[in-house]
């Protein structure tokens, strides 16, 4: 197999250290859902759907002062190299939890007391970084559902591959690499809403990887805004900030 990083500093798929994989985000792709989005992030193909705010069942789960946010991250059996058992795995249950916790700070859940907001992430094809890709899609799907939001949530991973800190690991790099650090942020507030880390990093490498991930998140934020612009204003140019 080819080296993870060659002499020219290129990765096995030809990317440079700080390159993202090709990314495509589309908003509003499902009819029934109140909000939806589709993301391609490298080989990841993920659908995000939002239902609600709606009545909570069972009723005693309802909270008097805010909405209950529920999240289901699920991988289709055909999404992986070998068939994945369709029953939710422990990994999926954990990811569902951290994704929910990554999204919740950005949602004005107090505007919707005694209701439930359901976020579904269906991974149709998986590649490295599916939780980050899913968060990016879920965040725009929530905006597409017309739910009041404090901010979008943008996510991207960094990691260590072939001894070097790199941005956005794909499946091969995730498996062969030394560390993976998925991060999600609220870009307008510089706040971290998701952070996980596995693999070994020195303190310096950690600082670098964290910085890379933040840079990746910022790029994703632009793509998310463009996707929403395209859906609602019919074009994809980024918003030009007005200086007054």
């Amino acid at each position: 197999m080819t080296a993870l990083i060659n002499e020219q500093g290129l990765r096995h798929d030809g990317r440079r250290i700080e390159d993202l994989r090709p990314i495509k985000i589309e908003v509003g792709i499902l009819k029934n859902a109140n909000g939806s989005a589709y993301i391609e992030f490298g080989k990841n193909k993920i659908i995000a759907a939002v239902y609600g705010p709606k009545e909570v069942h069972p009723k005693h789960m309802a909270l008097p002062d805010r909405a209950v946010l529920r999240c289901r991250y699920h991988m289709s059996p055909f999404s992986t190299d070998t068939r994945k058992n369709p029953a939710p795995s422990r990994r999926e249950i954990e990811i569902s939890k951290v994704v929910r916790e990554a999204l919740e700070p950005a949602i004005m859940i107090n505007d919707y007391p005694r209701t439930a907001i359901d976020v579904f992430l269906e991974v149709l094809q998986s590649d490295g970084g599916s939780r980050c890709a899913g968060i990016n899609a879920a965040s725009v799907a929530l905006a597409d559902a017309g739910i009041n939001m404090r901010d979008l949530v943008s996510a991207c991973a960094a990691g260590k591959v072939g001894g070097q800190v790199v941005l956005d690991l794909d499946d091969t790099e995730d498996k062969e690499g030394q560390a993976d650090v998925p991060v999600a942020i609220m870009p307008n507030f510089d706040q971290v809403t998701l952070f996980q880390l596995d693999g070994i990093l020195t303190q310096e490498e950690f600082k670098k990887a964290f910085g890379f991930a933040l840079g990746g998140c910022r790029k994703l934020y632009q793509l998310q805004k463009e996707a929403l612009m395209k859906k609602y204003f019919g074009h994809g140019e980024p918003i030009v900030e007005e200086n007054e």
Binding site: P53, K54, T115, A143, N148, M149, R150
Partner: protein, 185 residues
Amino acid sequence: MSEKKERKTMPGEALAVVEEFEPGEGTYSNGDSVRAAAVGIAEFDLKQRKVIVKSPVKKPALPTKGDSVEGVVESAQSNVINMRILRINGKPNEANFTGMLSTRQDPQRRGRRITVAKVADLMRATVYSTKNAIIHLALERDNDGVLSTVCSICGGGVVRINDRVKCKECGYVDERMLAPDFRGV
């Protein structure tokens, strides 16, 4: 100089500082700044010093005060009726909200309380409060009331006879608060 200024915006983007503009619909204030809470066009009212975000995104349909709602009676006790809301202001709604109609205050007829509705009836009511996030219903409007029902004894179709319903199968006569556009099955 125009009195309004506009710009496209996304959730979270700072629109103004609180000292300069008051947050209006579709915005929120977060300490120092007024920010967008939705995708939309921020409109700055330079006279009123207020900023709103007009959103092209369909808002979640939550029952609000004054809405006319239609739904199915899920439970009917002596003082309270719970109705699962299926339509809000004529539009289908799949969020499955339950509204509560207190029947304690309802009009008396012939010197006694009448049955307003029974389980499985289709009825229309008006949202008069969403305090504490409970959807309180009332039969406020002239066209509120039971829209359709079947015989509570045999399940047969019914016809309207003045302000009562009569079963076409078994002849049982039942009472309801009927809407003017009531239809027998």
